[in-house]
Amino acid sequence: MFDALSERLGSIFDGLTGRGALSDKDVSEALREIRVALLEADVALPVVKEFVEKVKTRAVGEEVIRSVKPGQQVIKIVYDALVDMLGADEEESHLRVDTPPAVVMMAGLQGSGKTTTTGKIAKRLADRGKKKVLLASLDVRRPAAMEQLAILAKQAGETVSSLPIIAGQLPADIARRAMQAAKIGGYDVLILDTAGRTSIDEQMMAEAAEIAAIANPSEVLLVADALTGQDAVETARRFHERLPLTGLVLTRMDGDGRGGAALSMRAVTGLPIKFLGVGEKLDGLDAFDAKRVAGRILGQ
């Protein structure tokens, strides 16, 4: 279990078994290894620091040294703390989409997986909840973004459709038109896909905030790449500042990245991770599972 950290901690704790107490040196050496392991898993530095402090407090009180395998004992403390921080008690991925037409808004950096995830969520709502879902692309920038969403709507199921494309219309106006269409068409859920934007593009961030103000979404999901590195903190913080975010989606969890961004973004925003993207196809959407993500971060 947890090869990466096991190896690191093993070398520190091997031979310690049976000794009376951990020395300060043992403890700080172990904490340093944990720090490096987390950084290598792409957990952002400020979050690593906070986490290591937490583990330190927990480890001090425990009788690590008397256990048969002190290294494993420390790893268990780390693992439990990770699961805790990732949101162990959260309910299974649930979207608040009960009052029709409920609006879900997608936001995030360029290429993070918003449009694909829009299709995936639509399919999930259609398959499991028998919901009638309307998809609308507010992306007037990326070439063929609207066509991409229209194709995905077709693939997502009988009860999923996309808003007809009107060239030249501005995002805010498309949002209004979509809300109107969702009401008239008797849709349960309207999902607004937005263009990708960097968090420091003031004009684009203001546009996103305006869309949220117009549409009054019951869910605003920040879609982020699970392969994200240290920038996860900055991106999450800035999007959280400007938009009424309600949850996170981590895509590309089917990669071999360690997924530290999940911990970073969760820690910075305090928001639940609602889904994990695990493939390019529309069925590649999993409910969030803190244990699985914690295991991944530790290099399982």
Partner: protein, 281 residues
């Protein structure tokens, strides 16, 4: 930052600064060690520290700085763009294509992403902007077959250049990676020297996984050069320094936006300075 002593604490702070750029713990340690040489325990100003750090980083990156003019060289020059999903392959091709228009090169774009919804339409928009033809088949078509056709056509029509888009794929997906290997194999059948360039497109927001991307795509597709996109955001792209240390791969361009003109030749000096927070003059 005022003047301060370059002691252990300061060095640790600097190392942390580098880590937050995605440089990785090991390379960050090496860079700060280099900085400390001859300066340890001496008084130094914040500006001096930044400049010295930038110099250390530039030294690592400089050998990798290599501007490339795809419209030059072998004819037809076959250039393949590869990388994980959403890294910016199609957009980068669009940007390069837009430049070619000004240079008057006879080029062809190939919509080798026959998988993702509207990938073909996306490339066609870029082709129309650059006034360069796009060879495409329907979604679901065999990518290798399409690329074969493209290279044959380039030979027959005596084109200068073929820019081939490919579907995004995660490097741990064996099946998708072997499809990419097949594309390369098929091109080689027509011309043993082709593809002349295999450009791995990396997203600046990606962390340590970029190293594994380089390793896998190099192994599968024989990557010859790198492009890093999305440096207009808050991500610093420090993992490029770790890559430059580990691999002898030229870095050609950086992407700094979504528009045709948002592509710059890679400059080791500018990149190093931006990474440590020295603003461009």
């Amino acid at each position: 930052l005022g003047r301060r002593k370059l002691d252990e604490d300061t060095l640790e702070e600097l190392q942390d600064l580098l880590i937050t750029s995605d440089m990785g713990t090991r390379v960050a340690a090496r860079v700060t060690k280099g900085l400390a040489k001859g300066r340890f325990d001496k008084e130094i100003s914040g500006d001096e520290i930044r400049l010295a750090l930038a110099e250390e980083i530039e030294e690592i990156l400089k050998p990798r700085e290599k501007v490339v003019d795809f419209s030059d060289g072998p004819r037809p020059r076959i250039v393949l763009f590869v990388g994980v999903n959403g890294s910016g392959k199609t957009t980068t091709i669009g940007k390069i294509a837009s430049k070619l228009k000004d240079q008057g090169a006879k080029a062809l774009l190939v919509a080798g992403d026959t998988f993702r919804a509207a990938a073909v339409e996306q490339l066609k928009v870029w082709g129309a902007r650059a006034d360069i033809p796009v060879l495409a088949k329907d979604t679901g078509a065999d990518a290798a077959g399409l690329v074969y056709e493209a290279v044959e056509r380039a030979k027959a029509q005596d084109l200068d250049l073929v820019l081939v888009d490919t579907a995004g794929r995660l490097q741990n997906k064996a099946e998708l990676m072997s499809e990419l290997a097949k594309v390369v194999r098929v091109v080689r059948k027509i011309d043993p020297d082709a593809p002349h360039d295999v450009i791995l497109v990396l997203d600046a927001t990606v962390g340590q996984n970029a190293l594994s991307q380089v390793e896998a795509f190099r192994h599968t597709a024989g990557v010859t050069g790198l492009v890093m996109t999305k440096l207009d955001g808050t991500a610093k792209g420090g993992v490029l320094v770790a890559i430059a240390e580990a691999y002898d791969l030229p870095i050609h361009f950086i992407g700094i936006g979504e528009k045709a003109e948002d592509l710059r030749p890679f400059s080791a000096e500018a990149f190093a300075k931006a990474l440590v927070g020295i603003k461009a003059p």
